[in-house]
Symmetry: C2
Subunit: 344 residues, 2 copies
């Protein structure tokens, strides 16, 4: 590597960066079943279960904006997004650790509010808060969470298990979190221009809630268990549906067809898209942060979930050489492309 070479991270992209920096990583331990490249790492400590572990970092100004994100919600969301990664392995979360870095503009009462949200999430998802770290930061608030869970070995769901003919499903409506963010940003601007104005969120409660207080779909994991379904592949929707479908296609070495008219969109999301003059399927495809589960099931399992109120069937898995395609509402077939979140 030449000393003067400087490559911008934006040129390479986040996923290519991760590929590059994790090149040549060695595995020493037989307990390591799965390392980098899924929603969570997978460990085998014997017995009939795997342990899965996921970690995430949330930064002020990048992942959240404290001008409209209440501190309790932030604490709740930090736990929920990590629990969601554990759920995406078809595992039940059991423990979390939380590290928080704060500047001295935060009081003890503010930290306490963040922890109220953290503890509410731990109670809701039945996870044990087992450790962490509180330290100071020079700029902004930073929360890093690690979540640990377990799953029976024969029930683990990787991104890599989808097979031709499998049905592509999502666990709930999409695009709400993204449109919620757009409304929150608009109200923030109004408030900044005129601090007398109170934010008007009454008509936007559902989508604002999707953004500010997403839920991890651990309920779906329990239902899979009861219904005797093991998804052939699964991932949580943090970066946007299109991006996650492409992950499954790449890791499973398959293609996929997604029907735009099958994408579940809540009526509030639909109305706000209209208000913002955005086609309603754009945030559903590329919005991100809904934290619903995207998964594939065998056709033979379809009758078990056919009438499920919150499972939507949005397409199917195809041969790899056909690639990932979107059938638009106008019945055009286009290559599926990911805009997703770009933090860089």
């Amino acid at each position: 590597m030449s000393e003067n070479k400087r490559t911008e991270i934006g040129e390479l992209g986040e996923f290519a960066l991760i590929d590059k920096i994790t090149e040549g990583v060695e595995i020493h331990h037989k307990t390591t079943v799965k390392g980098i490249g899924d929603d969570a790492a997978v460990f085998d400590y014997g017995g009939d279960e795997y342990t899965v572990l996921s970690t995430d970092i949330l930064l002020e100004g990048i992942h959240f904006d404290l001008s409209f994100m209440p501190l309790q919600h932030l604490g709740y969301k930090a736990i929920a997004v990590n629990v969601s990664d554990v759920a995406a392995m078809n595992a039940i979360p059991e423990q979390v650790t939380v590290s928080i870095a704060i500047t001295n503009r935060f009081s003890v009462e503010a930290v306490d509010m963040i922890y109220q949200g953290i503890k509410a999430a731990c109670k809701n998802y039945k996870v044990d808060l087992v450790g962490g770290d509180t330290t100071s930061s020079r700029q902004g608030l930073c929360i890093s969470v690690t979540a640990v869970g377990r799953v029976k070995k024969d029930k683990i769901a990787y991104r890599s298990g989808a097979k031709k003919g499998d049905i592509l499903c999502v666990s709930g409506d999409l695009g709400g979190a993204y449109m919620g963010l757009q409304v929150l940003l608009r109200e923030k601007k109004v408030f900044e221009a005129n601090p007398e104005m109170q934010p008007n969120l009454e008509d936007y409660q559902y989508i604002a809630g999707r953004q500010l207080r997403p839920e991890a779909r651990t309920d779906i994991i329990h239902e899979f268990n009861e219904l005797g379904i093991v998804p052939t592949s699964m991932i949580d929707i943090s970066d946007g549906l299109a991006s996650e479908v492409l992950h499954i296609c790449k890791d499973s070495k398959v293609g996929a067809v997604v029907y735009e008219d099958k994408l579940p969109v809540d009526h509030q999301t639909f109305d706000v898209c209209h208000e913002f003059k955005i086609p309603s399927k754009t945030p559903a495809l590329n919005g991100g942060e809904d934290y619903e589960l995207l998964f594939t099931i065998k056709q033979e399992d379809f009758p078990k979930v056919e009438k499920h109120a919150s499972i939507f069937f949005i397409g199917y898995i195809d041969e790899a050489e056909n690639g990932a395609r979107l059938v638009t509402e106008g019945q055009q077939t286009l290559p599926l492309t990911a805009q997703g979140w770009k933090h860089f």
Copy 2:
């Protein structure tokens, strides 16, 4: 809690803050053996071993200064300090995850250098890099590491197991990392005043290395195993010896006596203390960041380590009512107090 109440974190202190915010934390899972309050959380997945997990966050401007911390060393240190927490449970580290948040002033090459250090540490400590996250940050670099390890159930060392009469030991010399930092800060000031001046670190290589590239003492854990020793209590020295002795006393409900003249100090640390006009035992007692292990052994185990080149016997465990005391070089007996690191 009154709405207008504002308590500064500095008033409360870091440890009291952690006590306050983790009040009322519930434990739901029988896999959780030990939660908040030791170097690592402890999980029981059956079999004869425990799994331990530790997490830590390092922030630019608080935990490191990139004007003198080479990026490779930073990557190495981020792994080492977490591996050290796992070792402090008498466990062997097996996996780590790394989350990095960076501003766009960092190039791909810079991130690659951090990962070179991370991978070198993983190779050295034989730990598998199994996941993580790379995201952007608005201000400064932030690294969060989670380390996982295992230990036979009958060999785990908590902070809480020290008994009256046990011998207090450290695994290496103390105060070097702190004095290394003082030299680095001094050279930085010289450089800032006159950028023509090159930093003079030739005479300070050992202590600069203690600060910039500390090692986790996993070698000691392997030796304990070979020698058939299980420390009755153990903690790694991140905040300073006095602070860590007080943790053991509090958690084990014991007192302790530390002999100032038994504290191991390297001759370079000693010389630099003289240069800086600091009593040489001050950084040894309160300096922090040496990442040596502080542990207690039963008297009957003493012959097994008596001649060990890098284990030093610095005092003993006493009854709780006698408190923690320091016997100074002048043979005065004083209460042991922690200055430690104060990030707030």
